[in-house]
Amino acid sequence: MNTPLSIADDAGRRDQPTGILRWLTSTNHKDIGTLYLFFSFTMFIVGGIMALTIRAELFQPGLQIVQPELFNELTTLHGLIMVFGAFMPALVGFANWQIPMMIGAPDMAFPRLNNFSFWLLPPAAILLVSSLFAPGGATGAGWTLYPPLSVQMGPGMDMAIFAIHILGVSSIIGSINIITTIINMRAPGMTLMKMPMFVWTWLVTAYMIILVMPVLAGAVTMLLTDRHFGTHFFNAAGGGDPVMFQHIFWFFGHPEVYILILPSFGLISEVIPTFARKPLFGYRSMVIATCAIAIISCLVWAHHMFTVGMPVAGQLFFMYVSLLVAVPTGVKVFNWTATMWKGSLSFETPMLFAVGFLFVFVMGGVTGVILAIAPVDVQMQDTYYVVAHFHYTMVASTLFALFAGTYYWLPKWTGHMYDETLGRWHFWLSMIFFNVTFFPMHFLGLAGMPRRIPDYPLQFANFNMIASIGAFGFGLTQLLFLYTVIKCIRGGEKAPAKVWDGAKGLEWTLPSPAPHHSFQTPPVVG
């Protein structure tokens, strides 16, 4: 069999396993990257089906399709699956494929640990999804799992806790691998300040993961012991405090969303300079901004808690610091725009998604600043305004960045050009349907529609109907993406080593498809 991912390309490497055993035991960063990406897309579809069920129920007022308990379970699993099953693994998949090639390394620092990091994920995902079939169903406490509600939940909650533990371990050891690789295995001459931005953002992100994933593990373990072992961390009757969970969770939760967006920023920083045929504007300030965002993001967690009844000093502190994080984020947006300015722009699919990212991310950023204003947040917290904000920053931004990166590097990975027409259709349909789905949600939140409700008062009907139609359009469009990727894997116009004429970086010195083992001897970087 001679697929683009075949290992027969390499000279003399016929002692490697093939078939299923290859994928189970591979310690190769390219294979593992592929595994992560296929896994993440599968979870994206599973989480997406849950979202479409939610939107189908919300198409009209009244309960038509699911009972409220199942609705809450779907809402919860949709969030957990998308964050931990789709987006984080996708970003790690990119890290695996690209970091060694971009720094001129033969593989990750710990190849066998890399294999283990991946293979922890499918059992965790099965545990999480199958919690739907546990007595009482999956947990319906929201992805934020606040007690005492989460303490009330059935065994599905415990299954979710164990799944989260396993997913967390995978992320932590993956991050250890990434940091060690980046620090130790750069080609001679590649100083830190010569690294591609994607590598920089992953270096910072990996440190954040190691800092906050154990905090999440602590929080859900305390939930577990409150549920079964007689502790009362979150039970006032025992001297505990439900709000303490919120503090601990969000100390993880806020950096988590920056964990999702920083590597996405890195992807955009790779794509825009290539298609502007200009160097990235302000490399130094990009690095500083990335570090500033990472540090500040660890100090803003209680802006998710503006209605719990914090004293004035608390409200003010978290408001001020949350406003502050807009400054380095703005610097990044200005830098990308300045990269485009006076460039020689072309708009192949990766660039379409990168520019689309800029458009929707700025919108998500503006609503973020609005939400940072504590008094305004009091009206918007737990409403569809927040749902709109985080879908603009996570779906539109992270997802579009992932699409940009996929189209950008697919020719390098497979040796074939993808179908540009299909790519454009994917972009425009995604862009239009995304906005049709989520823009009206700002208005729903402003008008007073709470989150996580399966049924709603009549004044919210029109925008909900529009959002549901958009959601189905958006979901179906992603099948087009799957088709385009599979088609590219199976064949297409042969791709040269330097796929894009404006591309710079070590990965473009390798042939397309990149050989199974690359940079066996490190290149020297000028």
Binding site: M319, K342, G343, I373, E420, I432, P457
Partner: protein, 384 residues
């Protein structure tokens, strides 16, 4: 890029812009649908204005960015043979576009701070109401006035399940609204009985999480008489979307009249309840009353046919508790379940008669044929 592709993408660009302006075209309908509800308290007014300012600044900055972006997209194209400059940094520019946003957010912080302080100032209220969140209703307790009552969704199940046409205030109507005087500072002490809820009235700009075991306060002063509606704003279980808040703001004189009526009514109801508790009822009388109580309090979880939801809410039909010893049945209904906290303690919420009736009903419905009768006197004895 071929001409055909260019045309296609231009068309797509145009239509996506057109779609995005659809909301604008609908503005003729009602601008309230695109902004906060009309503010009815001083705090709500401040929030409304604050939001408009910050939104304006954000949109302005976004438009500036998009201006540069779209100019570059249109003019700095390879297809127009535009040559790429190779500049990659500009220290002065970087400092400017770091400093200006910093100044802007610092500027935003000033009016925002004033509003935060105002929202937290619950001192010198004219009256205080304790608000307690339950799964899945609210309870209001007028401190010092001896008036307290539950406030439960009054939208019929038929409407929710699409067997009847939905009323105008679908999911926003209750049996007993919170009644307050206009123009008086009302302090609310908010807590919860079971899980975290959140008391939210958008027109007031008040949202306060109700946390079990803790009391948090907030305040509002209503400008204009009227009926104001809100919803629970913290996921609290399956009926989270079905526990609305309705506040009726009356001119002060009318409020005083209402309050006096409530106090009289309470005395009457209390007297009737204790009289009722002395009576002895027949099985049929108890079953009839009990079915009503069941519909209002138990049906949501245990279902109309008593079959419950397997794994979540136990079946009462042929159940071990409903057909087992009466004392056990009385205990779990009155005191809740230690094993399963979702089963609340009803002794505080239901009268002796109601408890007796619903327990009797459960023991003689859904195919159960115990023939047992529980009298209000038995409940009163169990309370001791």
């Amino acid at each position: 890029m071929t001409a055909k592709l260019m045309m296609m993408s231009n068309l797509a660009k145009a239509s996506s812009w057109a779609l995005l302006t659809l909301p604008g075209m609908a503005i003729a309908e009602s601008s309230a649908k695109f902004n906060f509800q009309t503010p009815q308290t001083p705090v709500a007014h401040q929030i409304y204005d604050l939001h408009l300012i910050v939104l304006g600044i954000g949109v302005a900055i976004a438009l500036v960015v998009f201006l540069f972006m779209f100019y570059a997209i249109l003019r700095h194209r390879r297809s127009l043979c535009h040559q790429a400059s190779q500049f990659s940094d500009n220290k002065a520019l970087t400092i400017v576009w770091t400093a200006i946003p910093l100044l802007i957010v610092v500027g935003m912080a000033f009016p925002a701070t004033r509003t935060v302080v105002a929202m937290k100032n619950t001192s010198s209220p004219d009256m205080t109401v304790k608000v307690i969140g339950y799964q899945w209703k609210w309870r209001y307790d007028y401190l010092g006035e001896n008036v307290s009552f539950y406030s439960d969704l009054s939208t019929p199940r038929d409407q929710i399940e699409n067997r009847a046409e939905k009323g105008e205030n679908y999911l926003l109507e209750v049996d007993n609204p919170l009644v307050v005087p206009v123009g008086k500072k009302v302090r609310i002490l908010v807590t919860a009985n079971d899980v975290i809820h959140s008391w939210w009235v958008p027109a007031f700009g008040v949202k306060q999480d109700a946390i079990p075991g803790f009391v948090r306060d907030s305040w509002f002063e209503v400008d204009t008489p009227g009926i104001y509606r809100g919803q629970c704003a913290e996921l609290c279980g399956k009926e989270h979307g079905f526990m609305p808040i309705v506040v009726e703001a009356l001119p002060e004189e009318q409020y005083k009249t209402w309050l006096a009526e409530q106090q009289t009514k309470n005395k009457v109801v209390a007297a009737a309840a204790s009289a009722a508790a002395e009576k002895t009822y027949t099985l049929d009388e108890l079953k009839t009353e009990g079915e009503k109580v069941y519909g209002g309090s138990c049906l949501a979880c245990h279902q109309a046919n008593g079959q419950g939801v397997p794994g979540a809410f136990p079946a009462l039909a042929h159940g071990p508790i409903t057909t087992g010893p009466i004392a056990g049945h009385v205990d779990i209904v009155m005191n809740g379940s230690k094993k399963n906290p979702a089963m609340a303690a009803w002794k505080g919420q239901l009268s002796d008669l109601d408890l007796a009736a619903v327990i009797t009903y459960e023991r003689n419905a859904f195919g159960n044929t115990t023939g047992d009768i529980v009298q209000p006197k038995d409940i009163a004895a169990a309370r001791k």
